[in-house]
C-alpha cells in the first residue's frame, strides 16, 4: 500500500486541483486505503458545504445609501479633447523657468526697443514728422495691398469704418506729436508686460492641489 499521501495532497485530490501525475498516484492509493478514502470524502463534504453557504444581503436601500455618498464625475463635453490637446501644445511652448520667461520677455521687448529706436532716429530728422511718415506708410501700404490683394482689399480700405479708423489715427498722430507716440509706446510696453505677468501668475503656474481621493494600486 506504501506511505499515505499527506493531507495537502488529499485536499488537492478532493478539489480536483492535483496535476495529472500526482492525481494518478493518489487515486491508486485510495483504491487500496479506506482511511485516506474516508478523509477525501470528508474534505469533499466540507468543500461542498462551504460552496453552499448562501450570499448574504445588506439591508434594503443599500444601493441608494451608497449612491447618496458617491461623487459622480461630470460628463466631459465633446470638444474637451481638443481643449486638452491645445493645452498640451501650449504647455510645450510656455517657459518652465525664470530664465525661460526672461528669454521670452526679451524676444517680445527686442522688437519694441528696435522699433522705438528706429522711430526716434527717424523723427530726429527735421524734414520728417509723424504726419508725413504716416502719409508715406499709408500710401505705400495701400499700393502694396492693392497689388497683392487686388480689388477686395482695396474695397475694404474704401469702407467708411476703415476710413474713419485711418483718419482718427492720423489725427491722433498729428496732434499728439512725439510725446504722444512715446506715451503710446510706453503704454503698449506696460500693457504687454502686465499681460505676460497675469498670464504667468494665473494660467501657467501650476498651483499645489491636494487630492481628496484615496489612491489604490494593485
Amino acid at each position: 500500500m506504501g506511505t499515505h499521501p499527506d493531507t495537502e495532497r488529499l485536499q488537492g485530490y478532493a478539489e480536483t486541483a492535483l496535476p495529472e501525475g500526482e492525481r494518478v498516484v493518489v487515486e491508486s492509493h485510495l483504491q487500496a486505503c479506506a482511511r485516506c478514502s474516508a478523509e477525501v470524502e470528508e474534505w469533499r463534504s466540507l468543500f461542498l458545504a462551504l460552496a453552499a453557504l448562501p450570499p448574504l444581503a445588506p439591508s434594503a436601500g443599500f444601493v441608494d445609501r451608497v449612491m447618496a455618498r458617491v461623487q459622480l464625475p461630470v460628463a466631459a463635453p465633446a470638444w474637451a479633447p481638443l481643449i486638452r490637446r491645445a493645452g498640451e501644445l501650449l504647455a510645450r511652448v510656455v517657459p518652465q523657468s525664470t530664465a525661460g520667461w526672461a528669454l521670452a520677455a526679451a524676444f517680445v521687448a527686442l522688437p519694441l526697443l528696435l522699433g522705438g529706436g528706429l522711430l526716434v532716429w527717424l523723427f530726429s530728422h527735421e524734414y520728417l514728422t509723424p504726419a508725413t511718415l504716416w502719409t508715406f506708410l499709408n500710401e505705400r501700404a495701400a499700393s502694396g495691398l492693392q497689388s497683392l490683394g487686388g480689388a477686395a482689399i482695396a474695397a475694404l480700405l474704401q469702407t467708411q469704418a476703415v476710413a474713419w479708423l485711418v483718419a482718427t489715427v492720423r489725427q491722433l498722430i498729428a496732434t499728439a506729436g512725439m510725446s504722444g507716440i512715446g506715451a503710446l509706446a510706453a503704454g503698449g510696453a506696460l500693457m504687454t508686460t502686465l499681460s505676460m505677468w497675469i498670464l504667468y501668475q494665473y494660467l501657467f503656474r501650476t498651483p499645489t492641489r491636494e487630492s481628496n481621493h484615496v489612491s489604490y494600486s494593485l
Partner: protein, 196 residues
C-alpha cells in the same frame, strides 16, 4: 441601457462617462459578495453594512484611477478586505462572535445584528438542514484566524482562483496556499469540536 449583457469593464466605461445608472449597476453586482465577505470577517451586521458602504464609496470615487489591466472583482475585494482588516486590527480579539455583534447586550440587539440567510428555493426540511449545517460552519469559521478565514471564503465561497486571492490579500501565491491548507485543517478541527 441594458447593463445585464455588459461586462464589468464596459459598465465601468459608462460610469466614467458620468452615468449614474452604471454606478448603480456596479453596486448591485457586488453588494452581496462584498457584504458577505465583510460580514463573515467582522460578524456584526451594522459594522458590515458601514464597511461595505465605505468600500463602495472608495471604489466608485476612485473609478477614474482603476487600471483595467486588473480584474475589477480583485480590486473591489481587495479594498473590502483591507477595510474589514482595518476594523479587525482596531478591535479587541476576544470580541469576535458568531452570535451577532459583540456589543449587543439584549436579545433584540443580538437578533438585529445577526443575519439569517435567505432560502435558496429548497423545501422547508432541506432549508432547515442547510441552515443548521451553514450555522455550524459559520460558527467554526468565526473561530479560525482572520487571514485563513479570508483565504477560505475567497476560495470556497466566492470561488476565486489562488492567483486572484494572492492579489486580493496582497501576499505571495505560496502564502495563499499555506493559508488555505492551514485554514482547512483548523476549520475541520473546529467542526469536529463543535459537533462533539
Amino acid at each position: 441601457m441594458n447593463y445585464a449583457e455588459l461586462t464589468d469593464q464596459q459598465v465601468i466605461e459608462q460610469a466614467r462617462r458620468g452615468r449614474e445608472s452604471a454606478f448603480r449597476e456596479l453596486v448591485r453586482r457586488y453588494e452581496r459578495p462584498v457584504f458577505s465577505l465583510i460580514y463573515r470577517l467582522v460578524r456584526d451586521r451594522e459594522k458590515a453594512e458601514d464597511l461595505a458602504q465605505e468600500t463602495f464609496i472608495k471604489v466608485l470615487n476612485a473609478l477614474d484611477r482603476y487600471d483595467p489591466g486588473y480584474k475589477f472583482s480583485s480590486w473591489i475585494f481587495k479594498i473590502a478586505h483591507n477595510t474589514a482588516l482595518d476594523l479587525l486590527r482596531r478591535k479587541e480579539p476576544e470580541t469576535l462572535s458568531i452570535h451577532g455583534s459583540p456589543h449587543a447586550r439584549t436579545d433584540a440587539e443580538i437578533e438585529a445584528s445577526t443575519i439569517t440567510p435567505e432560502s435558496g428555493g429548497e423545501n422547508p426540511e432541506q432549508y432547515t438542514a442547510n441552515r443548521e449545517t451553514g450555522a455550524i460552519i459559520e460558527q467554526a469559521m468565526a473561530r479560525i484566524r482572520p487571514e485563513y478565514r479570508t483565504a477560505i471564503l475567497l476560495c470556497h465561497v466566492e470561488g476565486r482562483p489562488y492567483e486572484e486571492i494572492a492579489v486580493i490579500m496582497d501576499v505571495p501565491l505560496g502564502t495563499v496556499k499555506t493559508f488555505i491548507h492551514r485554514g482547512r485543517n483548523e476549520l475541520k478541527r473546529e467542526l469536529e469540536h463543535l459537533r462533539g
